[in-house]
C-alpha cells in the first residue's frame, strides 16, 4: 500500500491535560481524509503534528516515509491553519509572493503558482488590496491560496471553508477533487460541516483525544445504524458521555 501519512500510538498532553491518546491512522495517497469531531476534540493538535509544528509525546508520525518533524518534508506539505495568519500590511499578492519565496520555486514557477492559486480562490481582482482590508471569507481564501502555493503533495487544511459562501465552497471542493484525481494529491481536512465530511473518501471521528471510529462515510453510517453523518456525529458524541 502507498501510505502517505502514518500515525502510530500517538499521545500528546498540554500540562496535565491529555489532548491526544493512542491515535492510530494511516492515510493513503490520493485520498481526501476528513477529521470530524466536537470542538476541543484535538483535531487541530493532530493535524499540526502531521506538519511537524507539534511533537508527539508518545508514538510516531511519518509522512511520505519520513519521521516528523522534518524540515525537508515541509516542501511537500501545504498547511492552512484554522486561524488566518496573514501579513495585514501587505497586499494579497505580496503575501503570496512572500510565502512562495520560502519554497523551492524558480521565478517563472512562482509567477504561475501565484496566478493559479489566486485564480482558484477567486482573489485575482483583489490581489492589489491589503490583506487587512479583506473580508473574513477573503482572508480565508487567501490562506487557502498560500497553502497551495508550492504545489505540495499533501494538503492539510484546518477548517478551510469557514466563512466562505456556498458557491465558492462548491468550487473549492471541485478543485480539491480535481487535485486528488488528476494530480494524485493527498488532502487532509478538518471540518464541522457534515456535507463536506460526506465528500471525503475516508473519515475519522475524533473525540476527547481518541479516534472513536473511522471508515468511509458509508461505513460510518452503517456502523452506527443511522442514515446521515450528522446522526453519527451526535451518536458518537452521546456514547462517550
Amino acid at each position: 500500500m502507498d501510505h502517505t501519512v502514518r500515525v502510530e500510538q500517538v499521545g500528546k498532553r498540554y500540562g496535565n491535560k491529555i489532548v491526544l491518546e493512542k491515535v492510530d491512522l494511516t492515510i493513503e495517497r490520493g485520498q481526501i481524509y476528513g477529521f470530524i469531531g466536537p470542538s476541543g476534540a484535538g483535531k487541530t493538535t493532530l493535524v499540526k503534528m502531521l506538519v511537524g509544528m507539534e511533537t508527539a509525546d508518545e508514538g510516531t508520525v511519518t509522512v511520505l516515509g519520513k519521521k516528523m518533524p522534518n524540515l525537508r518534508m515541509l516542501q511537500e506539505i501545504g498547511y492552512m491553519a484554522q486561524s488566518d495568519a496573514l501579513y495585514t500590511e501587505l497586499t494579497g499578492e505580496e503575501n503570496l509572493r512572500f510565502f512562495a519565496s520560502l519554497f523551492k520555486l524558480n521565478k517563472e514557477e512562482q509567477k504561475q503558482r501565484i496566478a493559479y492559486a489566486a485564480e482558484l480562490v477567486n482573489l485575482t481582482p483583489d490581489l492589489a488590496k491589503k490583506a487587512g482590508a479583506y473580508s473574513g471569507g477573503m482572508k480565508r481564501r487567501l490562506s487557502l491560496a498560500i497553502a497551495l502555493i508550492q504545489n505540495p503533495q499533501i494538503l492539510i487544511l484546518d477548517e478551510p471553508t469557514v466563512g466562505i459562501d456556498p458557491e465558492l465552497r462548491l468550487s473549492i471542493w471541485n478543485e480539491l477533487f480535481r487535485l486528488k484525481n488528476e494530480e494524485g494529491k493527498t488532502i487532509i481536512v478538518t471540518t464541522h460541516v457534515m456535507d463536506e465530511a460526506d465528500r471525503c473518501d475516508y473519515l475519522a471521528m475524533v473525540r476527547e483525544g481518541r479516534v472513536l471510529a473511522n471508515g468511509t462515510p458509508r461505513q460510518l453510517t452503517e456502523q452506527y445504524g443511522v442514515n446521515t453523518l450528522e446522526e453519527v456525529f451526535l451518536r458518537a458524541g452521546g456514547k462517550s458521555k
Partner: protein, 355 residues
C-alpha cells in the same frame, strides 16, 4: 534566498507603517533637540543679580564680565536679598569673604557659587600673594579642566549617553513589538510550517530590523553632531560602530523578550524593568559613589558599556583602541541573545528529527 524574502517583507511592512517609522526616526531627534534647548538655554536667559558689599573694583569688574549683574551695597542681610530680588550677595568684611545665596533654585545657586569661586580664584592667581586682597577665604582651589572646557555644559556629557539610549530604546521597542505581532497573529507559527530554518528566521529579523536600526543610528548621530553641535572630539566612525553594536544588542534582546510577552501591553511592561534601570547605570549618575553591589549590577547592562564607550569617544576623544573592551562586551551580549533566540524558537518547531 529565504532570508532575503524575510528581509524584503520586513522592510515593506515597516515602510507601510508610517507611524512606527516616525517613532524610529523623528522621535529621537525631537527629544534630543528638546533636551538641548532645555540644558543650553538656561544659562543666558536671565542674568543673575549679585549684591556686592565692600567688594574691590577688579572683582566686581570680573564678575560683571562673567554675565553677573553686580549691585553695590553698603550693608547686606537676608531681608535685602529677598526684597531686592537678588540671587545672592558677596560680602567682604574685615578681610573675610562670604557668599550669601538666595538658594530658591539650588542648581542655579550652585552655579553662582562656582562662578564666583572661579572668578576669585582666577584673580588670586593673577595677583599672586598680594596682601591687600586676601581672597583665599572665598575662593575654592584653582579649577582646572581635564576634559571639556569652561564652556562645557551638562548636555555635552549627557548627550553621548542620550544618543546611545535612544538607539537602544527605540530599536528594542520596535523590533520586540514587531516580532510579538508575528507571534500573536500566528504568522510566526505559519512561517515555521514552511521549510525555513530557525537560524534563517533570526538572521532575517536581525537584518531586516537591523537596516532600520542602522538608518536611525546614522540619522541620530549626524543630527546630534551637525545640527545640535554636540561636542564630538573623537571619530564619528567610532560613534557609529558603538551605536550599531548597541542597536544589535537591543534588536536581539527585544526579539528575545517578545517571547515572554503575550501582548503589546506586556511588551511595554518590559520598559521599566529592562530599559529604565539601564539608564540609571549608564553613567548619568556617577557610579563611583554607588555601593559595590550596585556597581556589579551595572556590569551586566549593555547600555553601561555603550555609554562608557560613547562618552569616551565623543567627550574625551578616545580612539578605537580605547573602546575595544566595551565593544567586545557588546558583541558578547549580541551572541548570547541570538543564541537564546534560536533556543526560544524551538517552541514553534522542534528541531528536525532526521539528522
Amino acid at each position: 534566498m529565504r532570508i532575503n524574502a524575510l528581509i524584503q517583507r520586513i522592510c515593506l511592512q515597516m515602510i507601510r507603517d508610517k507611524r512606527t517609522l516616525a517613532l524610529l526616526f523623528v522621535a529621537p531627534l525631537l527629544i534630543l533637540s528638546l533636551m538641548y534647548v532645555m540644558f543650553n538655554g538656561s544659562g543666558d536667559a536671565v542674568k543673575p543679580k549679585l549684591g556686592a558689599v565692600n567688594v574691590p573694583a577688579p572683582v566686581s569688574q570680573a564678575l560683571a564680565h562673567a554675565d553677573i549683574e553686580v549691585i553695590p551695597y553698603h550693608d547686606m542681610d537676608k531681608e535685602t536679598i529677598v526684597s531686592d530680588k537678588l540671587d545672592g550677595a558677596l560680602i567682604s568684611k574685615d578681610g573675610h569673604w562670604s557668599l550669601l545665596l538666595e538658594n530658591v533654585d539650588p542648581t542655579a545657586a550652585k552655579a553662582m557659587q562656582m562662578k564666583v569661586g572661579q572668578i576669585m580664584a582666577g584673580l588670586l592667581l593673577q595677583n599672586g600673594q598680594q596682601g591687600s586682597m586676601d581672597l583665599s577665604q572665598a575662593s575654592s582651589l584653582p579649577v582646572e579642566y581635564v576634559y571639556g572646557n569652561a564652556d562645557s555644559t551638562f548636555f555635552d556629557v549627557l548627550s553621548p549617553i542620550l544618543i546611545g539610549f535612544f538607539v537602544f530604546f527605540f530599536v528594542f521597542l520596535i523590533s520586540g513589538i514587531g516580532l510579538l505581532r508575528e507571534r500573536t497573529t500566528g504568522t510566526l507559527e505559519r512561517l515555521m510550517s514552511t521549510p525555513i530554518r530557525r537560524g534563517e528566521v533570526i538572521t532575517g529579523y536581525l537584518t531586516g530590523y537591523g537596516l532600520f536600526a542602522v538608518i536611525q543610528t546614522v540619522i541620530v548621530v549626524l543630527f546630534a553632531v551637525n545640527v545640535l553641535d554636540i561636542s564630538l572630539v573623537g571619530s564619528i566612525w567610532n560613534v557609529l560602530v558603538i551605536n550599531l553594536l548597541l542597536a544589535l544588542v537591543a534588536l536581539s534582546l527585544g526579539i528575545l523578550l517578545s517571547t515572554f510577552a503575550s501582548s503589546e501591553f506586556q511588551m511595554v511592561q518590559f520598559i521599566p524593568v529592562v530599559v529604565v534601570p539601564q539608564v540609571f547605570f549608564s553613567g548619568i549618575f556617577a557610579l563611583d559613589g554607588m555601593a559595590e553591589w550596585l556597581q556589579t549590577i551595572a556590569r551586566i547592562m549593555p547600555l553601561y558599556y555603550a555609554a562608557d564607550a560613547l562618552k569616551g569617544v565623543m567627550y574625551k576623544g578616545y580612539g578605537f583602541g580605547d573602546i575595544i573592551g566595551d565593544l567586545l562586551v557588546l558583541v558578547l551580549f549580541v551572541f548570547v541573545f541570538i543564541g537564546l533566540n534560536v533556543i526560544a524558537l524551538k517552541k514553534y518547531r522542534k528541531p528536525s528529527a532526521s539528522k
